[in-house]
């Protein structure tokens, strides 16, 4: 499969009054054509910073890419200037934001906001652009697009605005779409519609999607692969089945167990992850998750765990996969769903640096 994006050992820091916040601490992943990669994690885990870095949207300073590469179609974009990025943003990579009310321009007609992209990246004439805008609105399921194209964002409902955002994002046929919590502000019924729409459009246009969310239900619905982030690092990555049916990292266990499923018992207490994420100005020594981890081993407080490969596509960063580690039982709620997947290696393999 064709690789659209390769992120290699990316590090991003912010210089603030209290010191240097290491928001992204060495993230590597690949993204293939036409697939959806979901990135999950708590607030402050660095998932949004990671994606804004891919778009080069973080303010520099105070932000700084302190290391690593972002290869988009094989070309490193870390050193690209703002001018060069402008040619990529909106055309090859575009983004859908969480809150459609604050990310649409309230003083501009929706149609004009779509046409802006067409003017800039496809050199379309106004009449032609307007036709295309109407077509795009129809594509994202907005009724009466001829009328809607001349309306302002405040005349749209929340779900409609998100549809308009998607129309803007897709106007120039981008090869990569980054969706940052696109459905968090929406109702379940509207959320289901938007997710269906995104999957449908992806099939038609063969776009790759990076989908950021903290809702594991949404992840199960949209993702082909899932990356779990904690404290600025990817702690586990694998196909959606591997993450939900054969998770290996205790943080992933914690996330899965803290969500009640529709058939879970009322009486049983939810398995909450105690405590809060660490302060990334001084990331803790060893495994950043160790202080909140009931399965933490002594080595977790001393040395950062390496990546272990569990299957062709499944990686987890935990000492528990080391051959010398004791056997532990994941929480009850996770065990219920566990199953043996055919692709799993017999033994986890230690991944050497610079994979």
């Amino acid at each position: 499969m064709e690789k659209i994006l390769e992120v290699k050992d990316l590090k991003v820091s912010f210089h603030v009054y209290g010191g240097e916040v290491q928001a992204v601490r060495g993230v590597s992943f690949d993204l293939f054509k036409g697939e959806t990669l979901a990135i999950v994690g708590e607030s402050g885990s660095g998932k949004s910073v990671l994606n804004q870095t891919i778009m080069k949207l973080i303010p520099m300073p105070p932000g700084k890419i302190t290391g690593g590469q972002i290869l988009f179609h094989g070309e490193d974009i870390v050193h690209k200037s703002d001018k060069e990025m402008e040619k990529i943003r909106g055309k090859d990579i575009s983004m859908i934001f969480q809150d459609p009310m604050t990310s649409l321009n309230p003083t501009m007609k929706v149609g004009h906001q779509i046409m802006e992209v067409l003017h800039k990246h496809q050199n379309m004439k106004s009449s032609q652009a307007k036709e295309r805008a109407i077509e795009l609105l129809r594509l994202v399921g907005i009724p009466m697009p001829e009328k809607r194209v001349n309306q302002y964002p405040h005349e749209f409902s929340g779900g409609m605005r998100q549809r308009a955002m998607i129309a803007i994002a897709l106007a120039a046929n981008p090869s990569l779409l980054i969706a940052d919590e696109p459905t968090t502000a929406l109702d379940v019924t509207i959320q289901a519609q938007i997710l269906e729409l995104m999957k449908d459009l992806q099939k038609k246009m063969d776009t790759s999607i990076i989908f950021i969310t903290h809702d594991l239900g949404v992840v199960a619905n949209v993702a082909d692969r899932v990356a779990v982030m904690y404290a600025g690092q990817i702690v586990e990555i694998g196909t959606v089945d591997e993450i939900f049916y054969d998770p290996r990292h205790p943080y992933t266990w914690g996330l899965l167990a803290s969500m009640p499923s529709l058939d879970s018992d009322h009486k049983a207490e939810l398995a909450a992850i105690p405590g809060t994420p660490p302060d990334l100005t001084n990331p803790p020594k060893g495994d950043a998750f160790a202080p909140r981890n009931q399965y933490a081993l002594a080595i977790d407080f001393e040395q950062e765990p390496p990546m272990f490969q569990v299957s062709e596509t499944h990686f987890a960063k935990t000492w528990l996969l080391h051959p010398d580690a004791p056997k532990v039982e994941p929480p009850e709620a996770v065990k219920l769903k566990m199953r043996k997947l055919s692709s799993t290696f017999e033994k986890p393999i230690l991944v050497k640096e610079g994979k």
């Binding site: 379940v188 019924t189 997710l195 239900g217 619905n221 939900f244 499923s261 939810l270 909450a272």
Partner: protein
């Protein structure tokens, strides 16, 4: 559980009455809340679930209907003393822990505000002791008392909001989307805390939310609202197994579950309000199709639902 703590009878809350933009936010809603239970209220945004909660606690004056708390009407003319009495028994936890705490007050003052108003502490020392005790109850510690809200994370702020609600020893707490603004792992912490407090203090909750899986987990009974009407009310498990009203079915079919296999086969049901074909003079109301399971329906649908019920 048979004792009724709260009876809501034909509650109506209209906004902009008489003007063209009149909104019937809550339109003739009737239900009871029993002592010690958690009643979940779900629905889309704009369906009137938050307005119902706010009207019950008299943040809005009801347009019509009654709210009886222990048999006494909450609405209507009240002296200051009477109001104070109600305010002590009913408290609220809000959705946004960033907006619902005064940024200029210390945590101790925020929590003790109710204690001061109701004169529950005789001395300064007693007041602070009470604050420390409350902080510990919600899983924070003494040292937090003199800090300001901005020094806390979202989950911690929500704990402060809960401590504030508990300060006046209420019997009934309305929680309006208390966990929607929090991270998944923190949500579980707050829900566990609320459940523990309910066990220890015998609290009654009205839990308003749109996250159906969390609502099912915390609630004994669940009410579903649609456009200002309560369309279905049933024990939590029963509602999920035997949803009768088409809107409830569509809502249930839209929740994404953390299970890739069931997601691949998900079939979403759409709700179309015109599918009911109500006649003009047909009486549409809440009818009990099974013990404790009420559905908003017409006589004809009532027979159908009863036949379908397993």
């Amino acid at each position: 559980m048979a004792e009724k703590l709260l009876e809501i009878k034909h509650l109506k809350q209209y906004f902009n009455i008489g003007r063209p933009n009149q909104v019937k936010a809550v339109d003739d809603v009737t239900f009871d809340i029993y002592k010690g239970e958690t009643l979940g209220l779900v629905g889309e945004s704009g369906c009137g679930k938050s307005t119902t909660g706010r009207t019950i606690i008299r943040l809005y004056d009801a347009t019509g209907g009654q709210v009886l708390f222990n048999g006494e009407n909450v609405h209507g003319r009240k002296s200051k003393a009477e109001l104070k009495k109600f305010n002590r028994k009913m408290q609220m936890i809000f959705q946004d822990p960033y907006a619902s705490l005064n940024p200029r007050m210390t945590v101790a003052d925020i929590i003790a505000e109710g204690i001061d108003i109701h004169g529950l502490a005789k001395s300064k020392k007693e007041r602070m002791e009470r604050v420390y005790e409350l902080l510990e109850t919600v899983g924070l510690n003494k040292e937090h008392a003199n800090r300001y809200p901005h020094e806390f994370s979202g989950g911690q702020r929500q704990r402060i909001g809960i401590a504030r609600a508990l300060a006046v020893e209420p019997e009934f707490i309305i929680a309006d989307e208390p966990i929607s603004a929090l991270d998944v792992s923190i949500q579980a912490q707050v829900v566990n805390l609320m459940k523990r407090l309910q066990r220890e203090k015998g609290l009654t909750y009205l839990f308003i939310a749109h996250d159906l899986s969390m609502v099912k987990y915390i609630s004994d009974r669940i009410g579903v609202m649609y456009f200002g009407k309560l369309v279905e009310l049933a024990p939590a498990d029963d509602l999920y197994q035997n949803a009768m009203h088409p809107y409830t079915k569509s809502l249930l079919s839209a929740i994404p579950l953390p299970d890739p296999e069931s997601e691949r086969t998900r079939r979403r049901i759409m709700y179309d309000p015109s599918s009911h074909h109500y006649e003009e003079n047909e009486k549409v109301e809440m009818r009990e199709i099974a013990p404790g399971h009420l559905v908003y329906c017409s006589e004809k649908e009532f027979e159908q639902y009863k036949a379908q019920y397993k």
